[in-house]
């Protein structure tokens, strides 16, 4: 199988990599670019652990071919903090203990950031619907919802 050369922007940096034509963006990000914050849960778009943004839109990277990402902009959890300064969502996830094993956390952070960009003041119901594409088997979701509410409040102050 011949490969494909993919030129993208990831978290603001120009990145180029080569991969097989049938490789998913999830696998390329983890194994070729070294961004292991993107997690594989189900691999079929149900769990959201591989959530990224593609041209600013929230998607599951397991359902995107890397070849499709040529010329597109990708955002991952690694781009959420500004240097050593954590994003309010990250701070509130820690404060509210909104994680246990942590596998789902990068996906939740990327999805929650996308949600708050579209809706800075979501109701609890809107948060629960907005994060319905992210599964967590540890927390029972409540702490995650509280953390997102607290982060939204913090972000609205700025």
């Amino acid at each position: 199988m011949s490969g494909v050369l993919v030129s993208t922007t990831i978290n603001g940096d120009a990145v180029e990599f080569a991969c097989p034509q049938n490789e998913t963006l999830l696998n390329s990000l983890r194994d070729r670019v070294g961004l292991t914050g993107v997690k594989e849960g189900c691999g079929t778009g149900d769990c959201g652990a591989c959530s990224i943004t593609l041209d600013g839109r929230l998607v599951c990277s397991c359902l995107v071919l890397s070849a499709e990402a040529n010329g597109r902009e990708i955002g991952t959890v690694e781009g959420i903090a500004q240097g050593d300064k954590l994003h309010p969502l990250q701070e509130k996830f820690i404060e509210h203990a909104a994680l246990q094993c942590g596998i789902c956390t990068p996906g939740f952070l990327v999805a929650a950031k996308s949600l708050l960009e579209r809706n800075p003041n979501p109701s609890e119901e809107e948060i629960r619907y907005g994060l319905a594409g992210n599964l967590c088997r540890c927390t029972g979701y409540d702490k995650i919802v509280r953390a997102v509410q607290a982060a939204a409040k913090e972000m609205r102050k700025k």
Binding site: M1, S2, V4, P20, Q21, N22, T24, G43, T44, G45, D46, G48, S51, L54, R57, L58, V59, C60, C62, L63, V64, L65, A67, E68, A111, S114, L115, Y129, G130, A132, G133, N134
Partner: protein, 286 residues
């Protein structure tokens, strides 16, 4: 596997027609990549249609609306003019999957995947939508209800690809609605889906189209249900007749999501409620 991303519909059709092995169209990939991952599909060629400008546009007008095959659910939901004119079509598509799926999934993908439970399909059929089908040599316009022929089966021929969906002229005092029943509130597959599209005249239903999903091998248009409400102000008796006509039209499967009896009964209930919503949206009951 070879990946191609042509920039015209004709080039896409030619690639699909020339491939001797299995060729698949990639729009959002929310069904295709899952099938590949599960080992249910091993295409030799994937034709990504998202670099084709004509497939990525929405043109909304009362005289007729056109939605490209690569337009995502999210983009439909963002389009206020479309939502106002065809709220049922938009709400049906927006029910598919999570926000992550909405960022990728398309109506045409939902149609060509040909699941009996596809949410957008009943709404499109109720709307009187057509598909613009492009082959290597010619284009044809096909009513959406003629595309799906059975579970996982379509009437598209080798080399044909759907470029866009067109929605007809929208008369005044018209609206539509789609409702589905699932055992939870989000992220599930329809046990029953019902779409109603209607036009009012002097407060009465002038024309209507009623379509059910997930209760037969394909989405089904139920003319008897439409007939039950035409000429009425959607009074109780008309709604009861509509519900009975819908239940009578069902030939569902029996599975763990819903029994035959259950689906048959709920189809009537969903259609009745969808009719009430569409009626209100069209300005009825004032």
């Amino acid at each position: 596997m070879r990946y191609e991303s042509p920039t015209t519909t004709k080039a896409a059709a030619t690639l699909l027609a020339r491939e001797k092995g299995q060729a698949d169209v990639l729009a959002g990939g929310t069904d295709l990549l899952v099938r590949m991952r599960m080992g249910m599909s091993e295409p030799d060629l994937i034709v990504d249609i998202k670099r084709i400008p004509a497939m990525c546009q929405i043109k909304v007008a009362a005289a007729g609306t056109k939605i490209g095959a690569g337009v995502t659910g999210f983009e439909l939901g963002e389009n206020k003019a479309l939502k106002k004119l065809w709220p049922g079509v938009v709400e049906a598509t927006n029910l598919i999957g999570s926000d992550q799926i909405q960022g990728r999934c398309t109506m045409v993908g939902n149609l060509c995947n040909a699941s009996p439970a596809a949410d957008s399909v009943p709404a499109l059929i109720a709307a009187g939508a057509s598909a613009i089908v492009v082959g290597p040599d010619k284009r044809r316009t096909v009513k959406v209800e003629k595309i799906v022929t059975g579970p996982g089966q379509t009437s598209l021929m080798k080399g044909e690809v759907i470029e866009a969906i067109t929605l007809p002229k929208r008369p005044r005092n018209s609206s539509d609605a789609y409702l589905r029943f699932i055992p939870r509130t989000e992220m599930d597959i329809a046990v029953v889906g019902a779409a109603v599209n209607l036009t009012l005249e002097r407060g009465r239903v002038k024309t209507a189209r009623v379509v059910l999903g997930a209760v037969a091998p394909t989405a089904i248009l139920v003319p008897a249900a439409a007939k039950a409400i035409v000429g009425t102000k959607l009074d109780k008796e008309a709604l009861a007749k509509l519900a009975a006509a819908c239940s009578a039209a069902c030939s569902p499967i029996d599975d763990r999501r819903g029994t035959i009896e259950y689906r048959t009964r709920v189809a009537g209930v969903m259609a009745r409620r969808a009719a009430e919503i569409a009626f209100k949206r069209a300005g009825g009951g004032k």
